[in-house]
């Protein structure tokens, strides 16, 4: 860690100017880190993404109501959301690699225990609490961890990482379904636990907390450039930054914006299949519509961080929030099979781009400061948004026997998120450039 004060150049958010003799892309271990994070995201989140395939087998085995089973998903979302700030804090203090190891152990234990449950409360504890906590611990620090590896061209790294979030749901559900057919639901949990253990052990072994660990500069560092903000894990530094960061409006607003975005798409993710089934489309075809939506979201997930870095992060985020919100209106007039596919395609574009701007926004506002805590707080907002959006549709359906008001809430949430993004601070300067100098932060911004 450098003890020197920030210079004027440190007040300006990092640009995406080419490096390595003008080349935008060149070999660097940062790409391995991105690949590790992407695979960890897919493996770790696979069981939650494919939760729907377990509902029927569990219902048949234990005669549980579907509402009781899906409550475990809700508990998982809420626990994961509440644990996210702490997970970011842990990642900043002990390092991403150790956090990943702790989370991976909890994940494997949670999966194995879920495979032996006999009572509903055991399911809630194993799947809801243990797996929810584990997912927060090893998934939340990952993104800030990847950010440490990039001085420039962060958008490309984030784009690949975000794209993996869309690929996961598209492949996890069919694989889990196939395993359930051949191994049963218990076998699926155990085999997934064993497979995840092997994959995660390899990935954690290959993961490095910072470029300094292997004696290189972050990706995009120009020749002769002093990379002043060192990435050594420093508890005092992380704590000092956290105290300053919590005095900024952006810290809170980014969390509430992520919350709004997640309310907006959670309604669709959870209830698109029931809406389609209500219109007379069979379950398999309805599930295919959801898979199409996930697949369509992949290019958006990849493109948004890149565009955000090059064009302007607030403008790009506002556009994709608008797309996510306005396309939901189509559902009011969607009745035919082909119309649902059309909706999946147009909504998937907006939905895919909803979250991709946040890492870039964090970088623009806070530079190379430890990002675990702000990202964790944003994930708290996202998780609560997913839980609220996922819950709203069911409640409204129980009361009104329809999803109309849930769709209205989805549209309003996305558009409110867009407005909130437009009200954020400009990104042409760091918000708290002097946080390392000032020991007693003042309220501002």
């Amino acid at each position: 860690m450098s003890d020197s004060p920030p210079t004027d150049s440190d007040r300006t958010p990092p640009s995406d100017a080419p490096s390595k003799g003008g080349s935008t892309f060149y070999w660097h271990y940062a790409w391995v880190i991105v690949a590790i994070a992407a695979i960890m995201q897919m493996v770790g989140a696979s069981i939650r993404m494919a939760f729907g395939v377990f509902i029927e087998p569990l219902s048949q085995t234990f005669q549980w109501d579907q509402g009781d089973i899906t409550l475990a998903y809700g508990i998982n979302s809420v626990v994961s959301a509440i644990a996210s700030p702490a997970a970011g804090w842990v990642g900043d203090r002990i390092g991403v690699r150790k956090a990943m190891a702790i989370g991976a152990l909890m994940f494997i234990a949670g999966m194995a225990i879920t495979g032996v449950i006999q009572e509903l409360w055991q399911f809630y504890v194993a799947f809801g609490v243990i797996l929810g906590t584990a997912q927060a611990i090893f998934l939340v620090p990952l993104l800030p961890g990847v950010m440490r590896w990039y001085r420039r061209q962060l958008g490309w790294g984030m784009g690949i990482l975000m794209a993996s979030w869309g690929v996961g749901p598209a492949i996890a559900a069919p694989i889990m379904g196939l395993m359930i057919v051949h191994l049963g639901w218990q076998g699926t949990f155990w085999v997934t636990a064993a497979g995840s253990a092997v994959i995660m052990a390899i990935l954690i072994y290959l993961y490095k907390d910072s470029p300094a660990d292997i004696g290189v500069e972050p990706y995009g560092t120009l020749p002769g450039e002093s990379f002043k903000i060192e990435i050594v894990i420093d508890k005092v530094k992380a704590s000092n930054f956290a105290s300053h960061m919590k005095k900024t409006s952006a810290y809170y607003n980014m969390s509430s914006i992520h919350f709004l975005g997640c309310v907006g798409h959670a309604v669709i993710l959870v209830y698109l299949i029931p809406i389609a089934v209500q219109e007379g489309i069979d379950l398999v075809a309805a599930a295919t519509i959801l898979a199409v939506m996930a697949a369509v979201s992949v290019p958006s997930r990849f493109a948004v961080p890149v565009l955000a870095e090059k064009v302007g992060v607030r403008a790009i985020m506002a556009i994709f929030y608008f797309l996510q919100g306005v396309t939901v209106i189509l559902l009011f007039w969607t009745h035919e099979h082909w119309m649902f596919y059309l909706f999946a395609v147009v909504f998937g574009v907006g939905y895919g781009g909803e979250s991709g701007g946040f890492p870039i926004l964090n970088r623009k506002y806070y530079g190379h400061a430890p990002q675990g805590s702000p990202y964790g707080f944003q994930m708290l907002g996202a998780g609560l948004g997913m839980a609220l959006g996922g819950w709203i549709g069911g409640v409204i359906f129980d009361i009104t026997n329809g999803y109309g008001w849930a769709l209205v809430i989805s549209v309003v949430a996305s558009i409110a998120g867009m407005v909130s993004i437009m009200l954020l601070e400009p990104t042409d300067e760091l918000i708290i450039p002097d946080w390392e100098l000032d020991a007693s932060p003042s309220i501002g911004h």
Binding site: S249, Y252, N253, S255, S256, F259, L260, V263, L388, I392, V395, I396, D398, I399, I409, A416, S420, M422, L423, L424, E425, I443, H445
Partner: protein, 88 residues
């Protein structure tokens, strides 16, 4: 205007964040109360349909039998939701 809005804080929290938190909490409380009332009413209807062959009028003043019947069937979360929501 955006600059002015950005500067407004209440209890140290930005107004945007507070607005989202308050509206969301209100929505959660309102929907919880609505859902709880709908469930209680549905049970009351089926109770009265089974006992008297017709649905109950739950808001009937002074009908202690109906109220007692409903109260005994309330789930704890329903009781909390109806208590917290001022509109249900």
């Amino acid at each position: 205007m955006a600059v002015q809005l950005r500067g407004i804080t209440v209890l140290g929290l930005p107004i945007q964040f507070l607005a989202v938190a308050i509206v969301s909490a209100a929505l959660f409380v309102y929907l919880s109360g609505w859902a709880a009332l709908a469930r209680v009413e549905a049970r009351s209807d089926s109770y009265h349909a089974a006992a008297f062959g017709e649905p109950a009028l739950r808001s009937r003043p002074g009908d202690d039998t109906v109220v007692a019947g409903i109260d005994t069937e309330e789930q704890p979360w329903e009781r909390v939701a109806l208590f917290v929501c001022p509109l249900h």
